[in-house]
């Protein structure tokens, strides 16, 4: 069943009590929380995701709870619990929903070593995927948010999960994290998209989360073959252009952007070289979103052969 099958109240009650078992791609998370903002956030952002009331096994057992005593009243906080342990310091209560996302990312980064995990967005069309490694401020998330509402499927906005066996990419289809100005931008460009409330003053500035498109969630079990590695940089007023990037350069940069490259040692190198070998590698500079979208439209058409460009 999907999260949307439960009413707000029922979902909140389950989260306060035994918790829910939420499927996000290959990972199954047992989540408990008594924080209303998190319950509301899950109802909104994960509406289309598969969920169960009970499961015998979960990959991650997490909870977002408010610590007791004085901090209930003075500068209230929320903490992320992983099987009863606290991997992070508590955050202000207003950041509870982003904390869920950061926490889930941490779980994958810490325990997902069946994959080579690269800090990048991944989108797919016609079976071919583009990996967009994300330097902060590159505009990767904003770009991803627009692309997945323009014909591309979302696999992830943060983590490329690369198989060490066959180089394929696995989808997570989780909410897209938007920061600062990009929140207003997306609210403008995509007025019908479901956007969570803003959390202010996080380490990344203001953060809001965008619900992934329903089709992306429904197709989460479909893997994708990587075809492009594109490093995006947003520069206001700049001409939009795609420049080739050397494979050697790309390999090094991807290695730098990989969460667990050194964990995998030689196998990590093999996987990354395999990836770079099969992909066309580019640098993308763009000053205007529509131009960038058009460029991606062409990419797809070139690579996949006679497929009409989609809007």
């Amino acid at each position: 069943m999907r999260v949307s099958a439960w009413s707000q109240e029922e979902l909140a009650e389950r989260l306060r009590g035994p918790g829910i078992y939420l499927h996000t791609g290959p990972f199954l998370s047992h989540i408990r929380t008594a924080v209303p903002a998190v319950a509301e956030g899950i109802a909104l952002l994960y509406a289309d995701h598969k969920v169960s009331a009970e499961e015998p096994y979960a990959d991650f057992h997490i909870a977002l709870q408010r610590p007791g005593s004085l901090r209930r009243w003075i500068s209230p906080q929320v903490r992320f619990e992983y099987d009863g342990l606290l991997p992070f310091k508590p955050l202000p209560l207003g950041q509870a929903l982003p904390m869920l996302e950061w926490g889930l990312n941490w779980c994958i980064g810490a325990h997902g070593h069946q994959f080579l995990i690269i800090h990048a967005a991944v989108i797919e069309r016609n079976g071919l995927a583009a990996i967009l490694p994300g330097a902060p401020g590159s505009g990767k998330s904003t770009l991803t948010a627009c692309l997945v509402h323009n014909g591309w499927r979302l696999l992830s906005d943060e983590m490329a999960l690369v198989s060490l066996q066959d180089g394929g990419l696995t989808a997570l289809a989780r909410p897209i994290s938007l920061k600062n100005r990009s929140i207003d931008l997306i609210a403008d460009i995509l007025p019908n998209a479901a956007l969570s409330a803003r959390s202010e003053d996080t380490v990344k500035g203001a953060v809001a989360l965008l619900k992934p498109p329903t089709t992306s969630v429904e197709r989460v079990a479909e893997p994708a073959r990587p075809a492009w590695v594109i490093f995006p940089t947003f520069k206001l007023g700049a001409a939009t252009e795609l420049a080739c990037r050397s494979k050697a350069d790309t390999l090094i940069e991807l290695g730098r952007n990989a969460f667990n490259y050194s964990v995998h040692g030689a196998r990590g190198f093999e996987a990354l070289s395999g990836l770079v070998d099969t992909c066309a590698c580019y640098r993308l500079t763009y000053g205007e979103m529509t131009e960038a979208l058009a460029l991606f439209g062409c990419l797809d058409a070139q690579a996949a052969g006679p497929v009409g460009a989609r809007t």
């Binding site: 990959d59 005593s69 099987d83 810490a110 070593h113 069946q114 050194s262 995998h264 040692g265």
Partner: protein
Amino acid sequence: MSRREATGGRLLLRLAGRPESFATLSLADWDLVLRQAMRAGILARFCFQLAEIGALDKVPERPRRRLESARVLALKHQRDVRWEVACVRRALARSGVPIVLLKGAAYLMAELPSARGRLFSDIDFMVPRARIEEVEHRLLDAGWEPAVADEYDQLYYRRWTHQIPPLRHFRRNTVLDVHHTIVPLTARAPVAAEALATQSLALDGDGQLRILAPADMVLHAAVHLFNDGEYDHGLRDLLDIGDLLQHFGEQPAFWGDLARRAEALGLTGPLQLTLRYLERLLGMPLPDEIREAAARWQPAAAKRALFDALLLRALLPDHPSCNDGLAGTARWLLYVRAHYLRMPFHLLLPHLLRKSLLRPAERGGDARRDLQLRVEEFLRLGPPHHPAARAAAPEHSE
């Protein structure tokens, strides 16, 4: 089995002792067991054990992936330790100082079964006391730095423990614990380091890199487990000793050697406890001769019962499913005992006072957490613990 073992830790202990019993686990069992195993630091070990008996393919998919992820991390740790040992070796090569590797690093470099699946937080080795300053200088020259800044803590390590303060490499962030014996200077039952060194075995051609002789390795592990007061990885440490005994015990002469050595070094106490809990918790079969010796060494019934009450709790993983209401107290009492063993009473009191009154509480976090930390510092009765942080969150790669 006691009532406690019969509830939370039962499945884990059964699996730890007999990995082939995995086939009886339901998915829900796997969920619990893997969480406990992770807390105990033996998740990767399970993976290796199951792979060894050709059983990994038969584990259900989700638990299997988790186990394999843990194994990947353990292999990384192994690579790192090998490299670090090579770096230490290089730094000390010209001095000719014998380097006796201890604990995990020794198991790994000697390719002992206890190395599999281990996550390492630091590297321990022993050098002759007379040369420890020289060793420290050479290591500082080669890029390691003092990991402990506080002057009191520096003094504490130098005067009252069996090692110099830990050293951390400035670039690799790896930590070295350089010992000169295996029981602290001021302890009530000091062990002669020379006795250990003379029996040590060379790991390679030129003899600089060494490990303790089998009996000494077992005894060191036993002392570390039962006298150091840390039980975060108590079960893992116990399993390691079990592995060592099984491995060395294939030589029939080993058991007699072990018993004689324990008596010669005055370490029958920790050894007896080890054997007792290997039997009781893991059902490990032991030869009669060592069981008889252990029966001679065991303390009076009342003390035995006290140890049982404390250790049957502390040796289980520190996980809500394994802890009962007294588990926290048990661990704390064992921690106090470890300090009692380490320092004479007239030194313990000033140390306690200093720790409780002068140490500033950690900044940040809520008032309750501050209070908790202060109390914990006081109760810990010792200098701040150097990277168990790596052990606690080992999965973070840079």
